[in-house]
């Protein structure tokens, strides 16, 4: 038999002004199973809480209903008070007499009647409440960071500096990401490499960081605090321990005309290569697709010239298995290539280039050593046109979003061009200038006012080649859509920032969600920007949406703090409001029939298959099992299950059914 205590709060006059609290308490005292009922001025005050505690002790209460404000306000307070008095905190429920009753209705009988109803509903519910215990899961205090761009580097360093182990994997031969390709950075124009490379070196030397370059995630299992990751270390055809990074092999390799990824195809590299001089690690890999030995079976020159015999042609990919407690995903972004734009020539004009290609032209370490020369004939362009929003904000192209970084880098490009080609003329076609950010607007104004970049508000309809010039047809919408034709020597398209290749596959491996543009989805757009819906997996940088460097870095540090918070505990505790699949005695084992339709309904991939086997290991039955580490307690599976085999603690079938009955049945 239940012994329930009802505690009606006046909340000063907030409740009592319209609800007759004494009457509510009196009516409640007559309900079946109510052993104690009282009203009090301030239930959340110390004396109020003491009232509850002493009632629990003296009357031996088995359940408590506090009729006061919203449970979203004080549920934790009263549950804690109950726990202190030795009652399981989950035996305490709150009836919302303030926000849902006294504040929204006029004084009168109907309001008091509603208040008593609300109390009754909860009294009946509490009868079916069960003692619940917080869920505890251990934590493996190692983080896996995927992606070695600036976001991944920052996250790795921050986590490593809190004293925890980090495994950083990068799919390319070197860390550095897109930032290493940039010439100067806005709004300060400091050299990208100069600020990035010290961080890269720090990663390589940090005692807490294990760096795997040329490596990708193969699979991930487990849940927060307890992930198991398989990492594929692609073969570099090299014994890294022996290699000294002398670079002799790269100079002797006969296959030299492979478009360099680092230089965005504007320069070449050999088949055995280090992507760029400051690469970390500064050791080469063999590109097996282009290497003569792998394609034709002959050559092995690198092997012959290597002074330490470090080349390993027969090296195979290696699978490394690691256990980690959290992941930071920092796989970055990509940009649309020029061939995506039929109106600008399907990529057939060599002097129509992307923003990243311009970065390489402007970079001192680039193929032109920092001189702005056009790809077709190496001439210095006298007239250059920049097109903002190439693809971005264009629903017809399937990219309705703003790529965010282009307005700023275009201003930077135009500025760099004006600094390098004093006699040159530069034009920027834009839709809007979005320069929100510290010193950003000032930077754009500087480009326009100090460096004389011509900003034209309008779109470009077509680019074609004529007599060695690129004819840019556009309109100036500030001059009444006046048609404008510019004979340019070079055109730079600020092509849309898009999700990286393979983003979907990675998301599926990680069981995280992604948006329609394949960018990874954050758990909440405002309040959980670095979390994903899978507990323990965090996001950093442009894999979530186009981001500039400062944002990527802050996000990375944010994600690192989330990881550090997680790692500050030896065990995680979670609210026990989770789904549970019932278990029964053999031979049924569970009423679950194993249709597993709940698996696709679960937003958190928290439902797994559990195989019940007999002593001989033979499969008797497969049933659903909720992983308490992953379940967030939404209950979507509960309403879905045909056999009612899943129930959610705190909102069980019996509790909710009883609430409906209690509400409509007058006592």
């Amino acid at each position: 038999m239940s012994k329930i205590g009802v505690f009606v709060c006046h909340c000063g006059e907030n409740i009592s002004a319209t609800v007759d609290c004494a009457k509510v308490a009196e009516t409640a005292s007559k309900y079946d199973g109510v052993a104690f009922s009282v009203d009090y001025k301030y239930m959340c005050s110390d004396p109020g809480q003491s009232l509850i505690k002493s009632a629990i002790a003296e009357k031996g209460l088995t359940g408590v209903v506090v009729a006061a404000c919203s449970p979203r306000m004080h549920e934790p307070t009263f549950r804690k008070a109950c726990a202190e008095a030795g009652l399981n905190p989950y035996m305490c429920e709150m009836a919302n007499l303030r926000e849902h009753c006294s504040w929204v209705h006029e004084k009168g009988e109907a309001t008091t009647e509603k208040a008593t109803d609300l109390v009754r509903i909860l009294v009946e519910k509490v009868k079916y409440n069960q003692s619940l215990n917080e869920i505890r899961v251990p934590v493996t205090k190692t983080a896996l960071v995927i992606g070695g761009g600036i976001a991944g580097i920052q996250a790795s360093l921050d986590i490593a500096n809190t004293g925890h182990k980090v495994i950083l994997i990068e799919k390319d031969p070197s860390i550095g990401g897109h930032m290493s390709q940039l010439s100067e950075t806005f709004p300060t124009l400091d050299c990208s490499q100069c600020i990035l490379t010290p961080r890269m070196v720090e990663v390589a030397q940090h005692p807490n960081i294990t760096l795997y370059t040329y490596a990708e995630l193969e699979s991930l299992e487990g849940f927060i605090g307890n992930f198991k990751a398989k990492i594929r270390r692609k073969s570099k055809s090299l014994d890294e321990k022996l290699c000294t990074g002398c670079g002799l092999c790269t100079t002797k390799c006969p296959t030299k005309k492979i478009p360099s990824e680092f230089n965005e195809g504007l320069g070449n590299r050999p088949a055995i290569y280090v992507p760029f001089p400051q690469a970390v690690p500064n050791k080469p890999v063999i590109d097996r697709i282009h290497c003569t030995y792998y394609t034709k079976g002959k050559c092995r020159i690198c092997e012959k010239v290597c002074p330490t015999q470090a080349i390993r042609f027969d090296q195979e990919d290696q699978i490394v298995e690691v256990e980690v407690g959290a992941l930071v995903i920092a796989t970055g972004f990509n940009i649309k290539q020029t061939d995506f734009f039929p109106e600008y020539g399907y990529g057939k004009y060599p002097d129509v280039i992307t923003g990243l290609q311009f970065e390489r032209l402007a970079s001192a370490s680039g193929p032109t050593l920092g001189e702005i020369r056009r790809p077709s004939d190496g001439k210095i362009p006298e007239k250059i046109v920049f097109l903002a929003c190439a693809g971005s904000r264009d629903p017809a192209k399937g990219i309705p979003y703003c790529s965010k970084i282009c307005c700023m880098y275009i201003a930077k490009h135009a500025m760099l061009y004006q600094h390098k080609v004093h006699s040159g003329k530069s034009y920027v076609f834009y839709m809007d200038i979005r320069a929100g950010g510290k010193m950003y607007e000032e930077f754009v104004r500087r480009a326009i006012e100090d460096d004389g970049v011509n900003y034209i508000r309008g779109r470009v309809s077509k680019i074609y080649e004529k007599n060695g010039k690129l004819i840019v047809n556009g309109a100036d919408t500030l001059l009444g859509a006046m048609p404008i034709e510019i004979e340019a020597d070079m055109v730079v398209l600020a092509t849309a920032g898009i999700a990286n290749d393979g983003a979907e596959e990675l998301a599926q491996k990680l069981h995280i969600s992604y948006d329609p543009y394949r960018f990874f989805a954050e758990a909440h757009p405002k309040l959980k920007p670095v979390e994903t819906n899978t507990a323990g997996i965090f996001l950093a940088g442009a894999c979530q949406a186009p981001r500039d460097i400062p944002e990527s870095v802050s996000m990375a540090s944010g994600a690192a703090v989330k990881v550090a918070c997680l790692f500050s505990q030896d065990e995680l505790t979670r609210e026990p409001i989770i789904a549970v699949v019932n278990r029964q005695a053999p031979p049924a084992y569970s009423s679950c029939v194993g249709c597993f339709l709940c698996v696709s309904a679960c937003p958190y991939q928290a439902i797994e298959k559990e195989e019940i086997r007999n002593r001989n290991g033979e499969l008797i039955k497969s049933i659903a099992k909720v992983n308490p580490g992953l379940c967030q307690g939404c209950g979507t599976c509960v309403a879905f299950c045909r056999t009612k085999s899943i129930d959610i603690q705190g909102y069980t079938h019996e509790q909710m059914y009883t609430e409906v009955l209690a509400l409509l049945n007058e006592y």
């Binding site: 194993g594 249709c595 597993f596 339709l597 497969s622 045909r642 056999t643 079938h653 019996e654």
Partner: protein
């Protein structure tokens, strides 16, 4: 159907399967399910136009399943049921072999269930004209008329659960009606409980029912309960696209599209 008997015999003789599920001559010129376990009994197998019972209902039954690998004489509705069951992990290639019977009454043996799926997908699930007319008729009634229609129709139902027993999709060991903490659906025969039972049944079958009419055929009172599932089939088509059972695809009601359309949520 000599080739069916021959094949059944072979399968049993070689122990490729332990039981062949098919039809045999019953009483009163009716056919009934037959479970052949010995090769010599295969001669009792028949197949003709009277064989409309959905045999797929047996492949999830413990008594049959425990015999070992099964082979089943499967008409189009049976094959559809089997594909839906496969998508719900109730049958698989290791425990079931399909001896398909095409709508032209030709025997085809499928190597695996995905072949069955390919075969099944050649045919759209279509509601027959008579029932379509009935659905339209009910849709055109006023709400009060519909209420009366169904309360009257369902009133004689005494919850014998023959519909459930005949349905291959109702394979749950514990049905919601058997659940008693709380008692979702009252046990005695009562209009409201009957309505709740049939609404629940239709919802549970939404996106799973392959429209074989086994429930209706089994009902001793000939209550047109299949109209409920037919209406759901139509609605699925309108709202989420045509339903076809599929082994790999996600279940229609356990997935969603962010742009699912409705016109009633304020």
């Amino acid at each position: 159907m000599d080739d069916l008997r021959k094949r059944a015999k072979e399968l049993l003789e070689t122990s490729a399967v332990k039981v062949v599920i098919g039809y045999e001559q019953g009483t009163a010129n009716k056919t009934r399910a037959l479970f052949v376990e010995k090769a010599e009994d295969a001669d009792c197998l028949i197949f003709d136009s009277r064989c409309v019972q959905n045999l797929a209902t047996y492949v999830t039954k413990r008594e049959v399943k425990d015999k070992g690998k099964m082979a089943i004489t499967a008409t189009l509705p049976v094959m559809r049921s089997i594909i839906q069951l496969a998508s719900e992990f109730q049958v698989n290639d290791n425990n079931l072999l399909v001896l398909g019977i095409t709508p032209e009454s030709k025997l085809v043996e499928f190597k695996n269930l995905s072949e069955v799926e390919t075969f099944v997908h050649q045919y759209q699930i279509e509601i027959d004209a008579k029932n379509k007319e009935m659905l339209d008729k009910i849709a055109k009634m006023t709400q009060a008329e519909r209420w009366k229609f169904w309360i009257d129709e369902l009133s004689p139902c005494f919850k014998c659960y023959a519909c459930r027993a005949a349905c291959p999709m109702c394979y749950c060991h514990r049905c919601t009606v058997d659940f008693n903490q709380p008692q979702w659906i009252p046990v005695p025969s009562h209009e409201l409980g009957n309505l709740e039972w049939h609404i629940m049944r239709a919802i549970h079958l939404t996106g799973r029912c392959i429209d074989c009419d086994a429930c209706y055929n089994a009902c001793p009172l000939a209550i047109p309960i299949n109209l409920l599932t037919k209406r759901m089939l139509e609605d699925v088509k309108i709202n989420f696209g045509s339903y076809q059972p599929s082994i790999k695809a996600d279940h229609l009601m356990s997935t969603y599209k962010p742009d699912d359309k409705e016109n009633f949520i304020q």
